[in-house]
């Protein structure tokens, strides 16, 4: 019991120190309270916006957008990655293009997508999906290439058909890489999405909430929005991916937790 309390206090200590520093800076620093709100104002705004349902509705829209973009990226990315890994011509054609496209920040395409697809949800989802697809393609491709030749030959020797080979050998063999790709892709989608929401003026969304709050100098609203963004991001990582990994590749003994 006492040990639990001590470790809880240890965990809380850094936040208390930072909170106190923030408070001191807000009271004594050069910024007016409007731009650098006090800790209690931020907490109060956060509680109020949660109770009003404003933060949850914005968060919901952002998450829905993230899911649609991610599903799109995963479907296209894994499909293309597998084709590239299995067929030489596809690899020769797509690999250079993807290597060139990968280091370009997805966000740089935002104005172009707005011109092509208008404002709102469609360009946001397409752009985020586009940005997230690159790591998924590259990792899936690497994974398919990394499937041990001997497993494939063994399966063929035992008379596996093409289809069986794919479902029972290639796909599970490539899965650790695919999952890594999906994880990186989701992280990228998440980082891009917030900014894309600012640029494509969607009607509801956390990025839009923060951006809109700037007009009225509502720094407390912005910080409350950022807090929710942090919580959602942490939840994505801890709840979705670590669990997925636990259930698949770790359980099959292909990776260590």
């Amino acid at each position: 019991m006492r040990r639990a309390l001590i470790s809880l206090a240890e965990l809380a200590a850094p936040f208390v120190v930072v909170g106190a520093a923030w408070q001191a800076f807000s009271l004594l620093g050069p910024f007016p309270a409007k731009l650098f709100p006090r800790v209690e104002t931020i907490i109060e705004t956060f509680a109020r916006l949660i109770a009003d349902g404003i933060l949850p509705i914005h968060a919901l829209h952002t998450v829905l957008r993230l899911i649609s973009a991610f599903v799109l990226a995963a479907a296209v990315g894994v499909g293309l990655g597998i084709i590239m890994g299995r067929h030489r011509w596809a690899e020769d054609f797509f690999l250079p293009l993807i290597s060139i496209g990968n280091p370009i920040p997805g966000l740089a395409y935002a104005p172009l997508f707005v011109l092509w697809f208008g404002l709102g949800n469609l360009p946001a989802v397409l752009l985020v999906g586009f940005a997230a697809a690159f790591p998924i393609v590259l990792n899936t491709w690497t994974g398919v290439k990394a499937v041990k030749e001997i497993w494939i030959r063994a399966a063929e020797a035992m008379g596996a058909g093409d289809r069986q080979l794919f479902w029972s050998v290639v796909l599970p063999g490539a899965l650790p890489y695919v999952l890594t790709g999906l994880r990186i892709g989701l992280g990228r989608a998440w980082r891009v999405l917030v900014a894309v929401e600012m640029l494509t003026s969607v009607s509801l969304g956390l990025g839009w909430l923060i951006f809109g709050a700037r007009e009225f100098l509502n720094t407390d609203v912005m910080l409350a929005g950022i807090a929710v963004i942090g919580i959602v991001g942490l939840a994505l990582e801890k709840l979705v991916f670590q669990r997925l990994e636990q259930l698949t590749v770790v359980r099959w003994g292909m990776m260590q937790a």
Binding site: P103, L112, L223
Partner: protein
């Protein structure tokens, strides 16, 4: 896996880029989008050439580089020492790790509006943004690197009478270096995204992100695509020329990791 020669790789890349250009050209000519929205390759090329010749592109690129490099260097100056301290001293780790884990999943671009209010439009806000984006991968990887230095190396150095300073310079730092370099790489990739996004939102008057965003107003799709090409080339250049060289000169030469081909 068969290793292809460098020449073959480049030739293959040229062919597939050429093919992709042809497909784009067909798409641009097909009239799905109006000409202003999907310009032909020739128009994009001439926009790129014009901007390269009159120096506008050089100026945009140097502004962007100035911002990204300043933010990145600041992040390195903070991140490496902090990561090392966290890896060496339990107390420092206990204090900073929760903060880092909480701040890391927040996308840097979410801070743009706040940074604009605090630092005003322009360089300071963008540099602060790059700094924020780049710090966490550096801190996190340095910390991991220091902790993963083989215990045996430290003990044997100590047994041979190395003091804290020598231990640090000869064992801990080189041992952690592969991770630190990985951290720099990830940090640069994030910084590059942050600088482009930051320039779009914290609009100044120069910079590759800004020029793309500004061209939207005038439907200058050719300028947008030309700037996108430069963003891609500079990003690839950093990865290939700077980080891979750094890796080859240090950790790969010392035999700690295999050099990445290409």
């Amino acid at each position: 896996m068969k290793v292809k020669s460098r020449g073959r790789v480049i030739l293959g890349a040229v062919i597939s880029v050429g093919l992709a250009c042809l497909i784009w050209e067909g798409f641009a000519q097909s009239g799905v989008f109006p000409r202003a929205l999907a310009p032909s390759i020739v128009v994009i090329g001439s926009a790129l050439g014009r901007m390269l010749v009159d120096g506008a592109m050089l100026r945009h690129t140097s502004y962007t580089l100035y911002r990204v490099v300043s933010g990145f260097v600041l992040a390195g100056l903070l991140g490496v020492p902090l990561g090392i301290l966290m890896g060496r001293f339990r107390r420092v780790e206990r204090f900073f790790l929760p903060l880092v884990s909480v701040l890391m999943p927040i996308p840097s671009l979410a801070w743009v509006p706040v940074f604009i209010l605090w630092f005003g439009l322009g360089n300071a806000a963008t540099i602060a943004l790059v700094f924020y984006a780049a710090s966490f991968p550096v801190i996190f990887n340095t910390w991991t690197g220091v902790r993963s230095v083989n215990r045996l190396w430290i003990r044997s150095a100590e047994a041979m009478g190395a003091n804290e300073k020598v231990l640090f310079q000869k064992v801990v730092l080189p041992g952690a270096l592969p991770f630190v370099i990985t951290g720099f790489r990830q940090a640069f990739a994030r910084a590059w995204i942050a600088v482009v996004g930051g320039e779009m939102i914290a609009a100044t008057s120069w910079g590759l992100g800004w020029v793309i965003f500004d061209s939207k107003e005038f439907l200058n799709t050719d300028i947008m695509l030309a700037s996108l090409a430069i963003i891609g080339v500079v990003g690839l250049g950093f990865e290939r020329l700077i980080f891979q060289t750094l890796e080859r000169r240090t950790v790969a030469r010392w035999g700690m990791v295999k050099a990445v081909a290409g």
